[in-house]
Point group: C2
Chain length 341, copies 2
């Protein structure tokens, strides 16, 4: 069933039927109702490809899905995707996912844009001085960045968490509790958020004349296994830190296990603050010792990003180009006063 058949069925022209469907004003109310009724009865659905060809609008937003063995099936990514999905559903949009070799993300992005399959692009997992930015700016297609790229001019639309502030605040709390020896279990160092969190932490330490010890720092993919390994290593150091910051509750999962295995008490012998992306899988409050966290929902970020992108495509709304969200610092039992030396 296509437009032509439908219009013949109704004894109307294709134009009128099309207008009736797309809510143009110059159609008689009665006619419109007749059309809508026929649509319901016949189950007619406009062919998207044709619609796209005619309008240039695809009703979909493109994203490149990272597929490296490294960050494969990242919980953080799928949590975010869920948020995007929720919002897209409300607008009858969908995503076009292009899986990409991580060495060719720029190429994947370019192909996606050129394919004519999408109206807007989205990128995340930003790196320092990210090469994708230049490419996106050169395209004449709306895009939105989740995160930022340190080292690049901030002249692009983004939504980011204030990672510096989050880890600055967390560190400050630990300092106030008397801690002096810190460890950091961070994400991969080339990622922007990891750089900023580290910066935030260092800034807070510097205020007290302290510096982050390299041996107490690890930059790894954010899995519980890596958290375990890193923490085990750190706990064997001569000068053991009493406070740990984790870039994810997933890392914290492993770290806590290492701490338990070492016979140390979380919140007493050692304090830990993790960043909580509000993963459905892993709630900081359901750890044996509930975790103190800096919290910001990845899912909510997904919703917001979809909202902005769709708004932009439809030209219905204008948004601030750049948003910086604040994380909440939520104190639970994993933080306590520093033990006496």
């Amino acid at each position: 069933m296509n437009l032509k058949q439908l219009s013949e069925l109704l004894g109307l022209s294709q134009t009128t039927v099309s207008r009736a469907l797309n809510g143009y004003p110059e159609v008689n109310r009665e006619t419109r109702e007749r059309v809508l009724k026929a649509v319901r009865e016949t189950g007619y659905r406009p062919n998207k490809a044709a619609q796209r060809l005619a309008t240039g609008k695809a009703g979909s937003i493109g994203l490149v899905m990272p597929t490296s063995p490294g960050n494969s099936s990242d919980v953080h990514f799928s949590e975010f995707l869920t948020g995007l999905g929720e919002e897209a559903l409300r607008h009858d949009f969908h995503f076009v996912l292009t899986p990409a070799d991580p060495n060719d993300e720029v190429g994947a992005l370019r192909r996606l844009a050129a394919s004519g399959n999408v109206d807007a692009l989205f990128v995340n997992y930003m790196r320092g001085h990210d090469p994708r930015l230049e490419m996106l700016k050169s395209l004449s297609m709306p895009f939105l960045v989740h995160g930022r790229s340190i080292g690049s001019e901030p002249d692009y639309p983004f939504l980011d968490l204030d990672n510096e502030a989050a880890f600055y605040d967390a560190t400050k709390l630990l300092l106030q509790l008397g801690h002096r020896h810190f460890a950091l279990l961070n994400g991969p160092i080339y990622l922007d958020f990891a750089i900023r969190r580290r910066n935030g932490m260092e800034a807070a330490l510097a205020e007290r004349g302290l510096a982050l010890d390299e041996t107490c720092t690890s930059h790894t993919p954010m899995t519980d296994e890596q958290g375990l390994f890193a923490m085990e290593r750190i706990l064997q150091l001569e000068k053991r830190p009493t406070a740990v910051l984790c870039s994810s509750t997933v890392l914290a999962l492993g770290a806590v296990r290492a701490i338990n295995q070492a016979g140390l008490k979380l919140g007493e012998d050692i304090s830990l603050i993790a960043h909580d992306d509000v993963l459905t899988l892993l709630k900081p409050e359901s750890f044996t010792v509930p975790l103190t966290t800096t919290r910001s929902s990845l899912r909510a970020a997904g919703v917001r990003i979809a909202e902005r992108l769709i708004g932009e495509i439809k030209h219905t709304e204008t948004f601030p180009a750049q948003e910086l969200w604040k994380a909440e610092l939520i104190v639970r039992a994993s933080t306590g006063v520093a033990p006496a030396e």
Copy 2:
């Protein structure tokens, strides 16, 4: 840059250029090379929407992404997606993801098919007597099911794990170790795999004249939290089971925590076998007490499914319509001889 412009540039007809690009034989070798060179220089990319409209082929496979609060951002789902992605990348295919209200999966699927945006459909999270099957069969579009639907005629193409056998084998091993009191932490009871795993377990028990105790059984979303709660409850029962089967390592994560908190020793006081989907996030061998598992990679299943679907769309290959994979039973330290009564 479109075909017309390109052909004018070359002084050829659109037909010839199109043929040259699509590998048709009736083009002079020399001409073809000229065309390819021009494409490289101009960066011409065919408009997918037009291509699709003309051919009816979209180069993409559609899937409905579950977005309920319940199974949101499911690690299992994204592990699988990664596999799909890997394979799709090799063939320059992409996915169209439609997020769907879980109460309207059939509708979402229908819309996706009708949109003309996809060449093939994929579904998973099958339920008993799943209504989507009828709908898929009525469509004239290739589809593939991950899992099966108990209660429906198995006359559709699927790829499934032999869940019955996996849990039958696991139970049998535990029986051989002398266990008599069993618990099962399973996924939602309406899901096909959960039903089959339970069946497999019951079959093995029945051979020894045993039955599964309802109070020792839980059917929940597969999160560590649910695993924790369920196990805590079960451990408080008067007649405590000595052997536990978990439908996921994620559930096991919580269950193991409950076991530890109860002061019980895994592999001595209580034995546990979990099904391992080979999640990158959660390796059974890196548990404090490494877990005995039934193993089958979700990601590998994703790869295979993409391979089959794409092959079908391109009509290049024929595959067996139905595949049943066997899980491997891998013994580690979480299983041991049943403790004396």
